[in-house]
Symmetry: C2
Subunit: 152 residues, 2 copies
Amino acid sequence: MGKVSNQIETVADAKAIKVQKKLKKVFGHLDPEQPSEVCPIRDILAPVTDKWSILIVLFLGGYSKLRFNQLKKMLYGVSSKSLSERLKWLEKDGYLKREMFSEVPIRVEYQLTDFGLAYLEKLLELTEWINLQVPEVVKRRYQFQQLIKKKE
Amino acid sequence: MGKVSNQIETVADAKAIKVQKKLKKVFGHLDPEQPSEVCPIRDILAPVTDKWSILIVLFLGGYSKLRFNQLKKMLYGVSSKSLSERLKWLEKDGYLKREMFSEVPIRVEYQLTDFGLAYLEKLLELTEWINLQVPEVVKRRYQFQQLIKKKE
DNA sequence: CCGGATCCCCAGAGATACTG
DNA sequence: CAGTATCTCTGGGGATCCGG
């Protein structure tokens, strides 16, 4: 039994070592004392993995072009301020382009760039996977809640 | 030229239609008036795509088991409160398991579950991709900043 | 001592009203 | 219509405390 346990540990450790190599590439720094100037996760990825940014990219993927208020309706619950900020950020990093038409009333259209489309692909892989996991996660949350209740 | 333009639009639209089909699966509701009870993005995915959660999963992937303060050092900048909350959330949803050893001093180890390892795989795909994009994003941010300065 | 929990405080998100 | 301005207030960080 100890042998089996050891084998399992070895497999897990071998896996961990592979991941560590990838981590070094991604972080550049695994030493917290000497963080690299730009952390891919903290500075590049995380700012566009929040709820609104993900929804913006997915909906722009699904509709090609969308106006400000069209997006706002689809992302029900978002404030003008948050939507505006998220759009500005996504534009700044090159995920989407903003086109303004000086008509009356004014019209502004947002559309994914090639870079945005590449990000969309990654997001679709992630969202399709999570979609399959929803029932299990909901179940686990419920079970966890029951455990808390028992303790009280 | 109009013809070329139309072709491009057609290609983009065909792409959009494909994405729309996937969106319907992921959202369950594309009608904001009738949002589904559980939105995979808002309720299941987004809570674990924040900066700290991503880093936690990646580091647990790289080290198999980690104690609270080990994690805290690796995630330099995180507060005990935030780390504690994120760990609790990730445990609740089944990404990791928490093992407590009633020694003196107390020892608590965190380790990814199979579900957590599956999520790790998805995160690695995403982070390896973003890692390749870092230079371009940094460049675009700089250029955007220059544009703002010019306007001022 | 370690792993949090608690309290306090502030930046940032949200709601509302307003404007080019 | 597409945002800003303003106010509010919650969520997250820092410091401190505490049970095991």
